[in-house]
């Protein structure tokens, strides 16, 4: 299989509109792994294995249903940068990197994914240590995401750019956690029934054929889902885009409402 069949600039990816001077940016909070030396996404989170931010493909929202409101807003506002923040156990909240967005793709009705043209992840910069606009923007309580203005985005970008790029080390840590999970559970992502790593090779079921997904929320009261296509029961706290069993996309419905 040619992996580039699914990677930008291939269809359905389209360049993120360059509407002149950089507009606002988003700050996005993600759950990081308490098991990792670098704060990579929480690959091994129990019954909720995380796939975003997906550094392997430099994407956000391609494989997961995370933060649909933010992704829609990014598309609507022409935003071209996401800064990533996470809480590190025992240390506090840290700014860890950014995506400069290069492409977007409508993967399903009302569901947009992004691919970065550049990504940079660094040793965590503790939010408490940030001064000026960057500190002012990130030090107040921040739940999932927030918009920051262009000067603040510039300050955040400078803060990250001052540190050596450790994106490859983040990637190595993700694969280490995947190996740890595989050796102990037989799956890299047990709640996804997934044995393979994420890559552009894995993108086919997520990008092929624009789909009209079942209208369903992002979370299930019971943590369980029923696939409208194959009737399998899937346990994962967040809604998965693709059924673990039949690979159909957009078919999972909260168990309670089925």
């Amino acid at each position: 299989m040619n992996a580039n069949v699914y990677a930008p600039p291939a269809d359905p990816w389209v360049p993120v509109t360059d509407g002149g001077p950089a507009p606002e940016a988003y700050v996005s909070v993600y759950l990081s792994s308490p098991l990792a030396r670098l704060p990579v996404r929480d690959v091994t989170r129990l019954e909720d294995n995380k796939s975003d931010p997906n550094l392997e493909t430099s994407t956000y929202g391609l494989f997961s249903t995370c933060e649909p409101i933010m992704r829609t807003s990014i598309a609507n506002r022409g935003i071209r940068e996401i800064f990533f923040v996470t809480t590190i156990e025992g240390r506090g909240r840290a700014l860890v990197g950014y995506y400069a967005l290069g492409w977007s793709a409508i993967v399903d009705e009302g569901d947009v994914a992004f691919a970065a043209s550049q990504s940079r992840f660094v040793d965590p910069i503790m939010v408490a240590s940030l001064r000026g606009r960057a500190g002012k923007a990130l030090q107040p309580r921040l739940r999932n995401f927030k918009i920051v203005d262009a000067p603040t985005a510039t300050a955040l970008r400078h803060a990250v750019d001052e540190h050596p790029d450790r994106t490859d080390d983040y990637l190595a840590e993700i694969t280490r956690l995947e190996r740890m999970s595989l050796s102990r559970t037989g799956f890299r992502y047990p709640s996804w029934d997934r044995k393979e790593p994420f890559s552009w090779d894995a993108a086919a079921p997520y990008l092929s054929d624009l789909n009209v997904a079942e209208d369903a929320p992002n979370s299930s009261p019971t943590g369980a889902w029923i696939c409208a296509a194959c009737k399998s029961r899937i346990v994962n706290r967040a809604r998965l885009k693709v059924c673990n069993v039949c690979n159909a996309r957009g078919t999972l419905i909260p168990e309670e409402s089925h």
Binding site: L35, R37, L182, S183, R184
Partner: protein, 153 residues
């Protein structure tokens, strides 16, 4: 609570293991046993019993280790017993053997002060990871499939 450790090392590396044991004990960790114990040092019975009394296995990676069958068995046992696994590489030029690499254990360099500072955190994370993944394995996959460790090579 400080974790109790089991020190896994090749028979030829007993002297290096003594150094590591002394260093890690100074950091506040207790040992439940090691691959080649000094007589009388541990008041437990065989190696299996010593491993069961520990929560994390600390493996010494040296030139001798990849060929040592006892260490290979102890690495396997650490997975069977849902124990954490941390690797201390005594010489940073030694490659991590495949069966150890596949476990996803954190590999720290004995010659790196930064890595040694991180060792207590790595031990704690390894123990937490083992407990978490044992829970995940017991619950089965998202579709309810049994979680089984891959066959060993």
């Amino acid at each position: 609570m400080q974790e109790r450790l089991y020190l896994s090392h090749a028979e030829l590396d007993a002297a290096a293991a003594d150094d590591v044991q002394a260093y890690v004990a100074d950091a506040g960790f207790r040992f439940a046993g090691r691959s080649v114990p000094d007589q009388g040092q541990f008041d437990f019975g065989d190696r299996g019993q010593q491993m069961r009394a520990a929560s994390v296995v600390l493996v010494l990676l040296t030139d001798s280790m990849p060929e040592d069958e006892v260490v290979a068995r102890e690495i396997d046992a650490s997975l069977d017993l849902a124990m954490g696994l941390v690797v201390l590489r005594m010489d940073e030029h030694v490659d991590v053997p495949q069966h150890l690499w596949d476990t996803g254990a954190e590999v720290l360099n004995w010659t790196s002060a930064v890595d040694l500072d991180y060792l207590p955190i790595a031990i704690d994370a390894a123990r937490k990871g083992a407990v978490l993944l044992e829970k995940a394995a017991q619950r089965g996959s998202g579709s309810g499939a049994a979680c089984a460790r891959p066959p060993r090579h």
